[in-house]
């Protein structure tokens, strides 16, 4: 089928401001949007710039705004979008070139929540024990691939880039509810600050955007609830 691709372009070395490039691509309905973007890059315009790697929704490189929604270009098929496809860089992060945004602010928020297991107790010679139920408690949030689809879909983040954002909260959730971790108090304190969880207005854009199907808004709500429970 013929597909009309409209791509938001910007090259800081040559462009004063962003512009829309239009490209016609022949594609199979079962092709990924990434395949169509590759066709443009490889055969029509080598200057088109994007990040990508695994091409099956695991590495998280090719998050972008596709027909107005944050998606991984490798995880959405042409047939699900039809013949008119609009592709833009993620919102809320500075554009470096075309579909490539600066991920450093996003990664800084991630680093702020102590994204590692803290357990200063002596390590046993074998594994620490954890029941199946304890392990299930944080299963959903271990799926996060840090693609930034959720955070850059969040109006609260667009309004205030200092807001730590859903991805960092998801990562915090993964440790706060891990029975082996001992830094839940510190993480909850970080998330209780003005740019923490209370900036979330439960708009659910993050949950809709997550390519891993994580219940992001629910994870944020669980943290809010945990704060309230512990305060009383």
């Amino acid at each position: 089928m013929k597909v009309q691709l409209k791509i938001r372009r910007f090259n800081p070395e040559t462009d004063q401001k962003p512009w829309w490039g239009s490209y016609e691509v022949e594609a199979e309905p079962t092709d990924r949007v990434l395949d169509a973007l590759h066709y443009v890059k490889w055969y029509l315009d080598g200057t088109l710039t994007l990040r990508r790697s695994c091409a099956h929704g695991i590495c998280g490189s090719d998050a972008m705004r596709i027909n107005g929604r944050n998606r991984l270009a490798c995880k959405v098929l042409i047939k699900d979008l039809g013949p008119h496809i609009t592709v833009e860089p993620l919102l809320g992060l500075p554009v470096i070139k075309d579909l490539v945004v600066d991920m450093q602010p996003f990664m800084a928020h991630y680093r702020a929540i102590l994204p590692y297991l803290v357990n200063d107790g002596p390590s046993p010679t074998a594994e620490r024990l954890q029941s199946i139920e304890e392990r299930d408690r944080f299963d959903d949030t271990t799926k996060c691939i840090l693609c930034a689809c959720c955070t850059t879909a969040c109006p609260s983040f667009w309004a205030r880039p200092d807001y730590i954002g859903p991805a960092a909260i998801v990562q915090a959730h993964r440790f706060i509810f891990d029975s082996r971790d001992q830094a839940d108090e510190e993480r909850l304190a970080i998330l209780a600050e003005p740019n923490g969880v209370w900036r979330c207005r439960s708009i659910y854009n993050c949950t809709e955007a997550c390519p891993r199907g994580i219940q992001v808004t629910q994870a944020i709500a669980e943290i809010k609830k945990e704060m309230l429970v512990r305060r009383t």
């Binding site: 490889w42 590495c59 590692y116």
Partner: protein, 596 residues
């Protein structure tokens, strides 16, 4: 710009991060990666990492060692395999202590599942050895190691593409890297350099590998006179999603899934009567091709079904007499599939519109893993010849390296183990080396060779041909002639085609002439490496006139220990390739016939 670090690690997958965790405690270390570390291909590994914990049933590192050597078709170096399989147990516990969320048994221990080629050496039946976190074990390993690196303040330089290795007068002096965002070249002056750059599946058309897996590390090393070992051995994983090549973990068969031909027959019974669908990967990939050749592919096409529907699985559990530890018949439910294989279900639903609970999955073999690579000893030190001469200060670990623990065919899960064990050992030895050594001075104009390569690509006029055409032809040629089945004239044709493509590559330009985030330039540069790697692979494959593990010659269908129980080393001198050989280290397990 010149930077100075004790050690530079190139690549931020499991091997690079494992090394960084060791080295950064004692040295000034920088980790350079062409992507953000969490994008690394370790993250796509699915099924598990093997260690003989024995959490469900009796197991031992000794059995793991034997299985790995048998799986390798006796080409693995047995000293290295022994180290890996015995250190596996502590490596997995260490990951758990770092926070890795393994699935759990009823009594709270790490859960384990069966995997291809891993057996109880007494009963010969599959053993539960693969420690797993659903079907995203690699994702959890990558995340956990990266988390620990953050905790330990490891320095990362993200989106730096290493272009050249600085070696002079037999000593390592650093690397030259392109900062992708700015197009600036940076010189990293270092005592030690480690390559952990991963594999090169992009040499083939159908592959499970990421677009990033273009063999940059070995291509750079070969240009600097360092040999590559066992390049003819590349693994085709039996179950890639039809046409896309996306990996469907062996864990599906570990949970009971079976391969089915168009007659509805579970054909692995004929090829591997004892462990059937859990035979090693080379055996199963060949069996699938033979079924297809015999006209028994689905609809006569070039794929078969992987069937994990509960009714199918439970039927074969009964036929095989599979029991739970308490003696009740083993069963799988739709809920088990959702819980233990959620990503697989997601892939088949997304890309095929197929629900694995109610429909079989169309699969075909997919280029998956490089057994060969940069030769190293068991401390990750790069070796220059067949008599263990070390290149001081240069290290490699993970898929890019050839220790060799995988020999002619790797067992499933052993790649994750390899990156943990040998990544860590390389890190430990870099600390020792850097404490004992001074900085060797930088060469004059250290960035000259890197700049020359990039400027040559940038300055060539854009002709009628595209880099993408060359890449596509390369991948097709390698698929057709240097794939699962090979024979002399076909491989020779591939060698000739590659030479022609290399010549055309020299005439082909790129469109993006800019500096900022120029991926047109980087893809073109990567293609140069892919061509070199493909050439080394084809030449090594042509020379080895036997069949062993992943290298199957239809014109030489038998393993020939008399002539070929040896590793190949391929050198590139002034554009010409030269092959030499070195012996295999055999300790406790002399080669015998390999039957599953």
């Amino acid at each position: 710009m010149i930077h100075k670090y004790d050690a530079v690690i190139v690549g931020a997958g499991g091997a690079g991060l494992s090394a960084a965790l060791q080295a950064a405690q004692h040295l000034r270390v920088a980790v350079l990666s062409k992507m953000y570390p969490v994008r690394s291909h370790t993250g796509t590994a699915q099924g598990g990492v093997c260690a003989a914990l024995g959490n469900h049933e009796e197991d031992s590192p000794e059995w793991h060692t034997f299985d790995t050597i048998k799986g390798s078709d006796y080409l693995a170096d047995q000293d290295a395999v022994k180290i890996m399989c015995y250190e596996a147990v502590d490596s997995v516990y260490e990951l758990e202590h770092m926070g890795l969320p393994f699935n759990r048994t009823e009594d709270g221990r790490i859960a384990q599942r069966p995997f291809g080629g891993h057996t109880n050496n007494v009963t010969k039946q599959p053993v539960r050895r693969a420690c797993y976190a659903a079907d995203r074990t690699g994702h959890m390993i990558l995340q956990t190691l990266y988390q620990q690196c953050i905790k330990h303040n490891v320095t990362f330089l993200d989106e730096y593409q290493v272009i050249d290795l600085l070696v002079e007068e037999g000593r390592t002096r650093g690397v030259v890297a392109l900062e992708i965002a700015t197009g600036d070249l940076h010189v990293f002056h270092a005592k030690a350099v480690m390559f952990a750059t991963g594999g090169w599946g992009k040499v083939w058309q159908i592959t499970s590998n990421a677009h990033s897996l273009t063999g940059d590390g070995p291509a750079i090393a070969m240009r600097r006179g360092i040999p590559l070992e066992d390049m003819e051995f590349f693994q085709f994983h039996p179950t890639g999603i039809y046409r896309l090549g996306i990996l469907i973990t062996e864990g599906v068969r570990g949970e009971g899934g079976v391969l089915i031909n168009k007659d509805g027959e579970r054909f692995m019974e004929r090829y591997a009567p004892t462990i059937k669908d859990l035979a090693s990967r080379d055996v199963i990939s060949r069996a699938i091709y033979l079924e297809i050749r015999a006209g028994r592919g689905i609809d006569g096409k070039d794929y078969v079904y992987l069937d994990v529907r509960p009714e199918t699985v439970n039927k074969y559990f009964d036929l095989d007499g599979k029991k739970n530890p308490d003696g009740t018949p083993r069963r799988i439910t739709p809920a088990d599939i959702e819980a233990k294989l959620p990503d697989i279900a997601d892939f088949t639903r997304t890309y095929l519109g197929i629900d694995p609970v109610s429909q079989p999955i169309p699969v075909q073999p997919t280029a998956h893993y490089a057994m060969g690579g940069i030769p190293t000893d068991t401390w990750g030190r790069v070796l220059l010849d067949g008599v263990k001469t070390v290149l001081p200060g240069f290290y490699a670990a993970g898929e890019v390296a050839c220790v060799s623990v995988h020999g002619a065919n790797r067992l499933g899960t052993n790649s994750l183990l390899d990156i943990l064990v040998f990544g860590k050992r390389a890190g430990i030895d870099m600390v020792r080396y850097c404490k004992e050594s001074d900085f060797a001075p930088l060469p004059k104009e250290p960035e000259a060779f890197a700049r020359q390569q990039l400027e040559a690509l940038r300055s060539r006029p854009v002709g009628s041909e595209r880099m993408a055409d060359i890449r596509r032809q390369l991948q097709q040629t390698m698929m057709d002639h240097v794939g699962i089945f090979r024979e002399g004239p076909g491989i020779q044709q591939a060698v000739d085609t590659i030479a022609e493509l290399q010549a055309r590559y020299q005439q082909t330009g790129i469109q993006d002439k800019g500096r900022c985030f120029n991926t047109d330039l980087l893809e073109a540069w990567e293609l140069g490496g892919l061509l070199d790697i493909a050439q080394a692979t084809a030449v090594a494959a042509l020379n080895r006139t036997e069949s062993r593990g992943g290298h199957y010659r239809e014109d030489y269908p038998k393993r020939d220990d008399q002539q070929w129980l040896k590793h190949s080393l391929i050198f590139r001198n002034n554009g010409k390739l030269e092959l030499r050989y070195k012996p295999v280290t055999i300790l406790d397990y002399p080669p015998t016939e390999r039957v599953y």
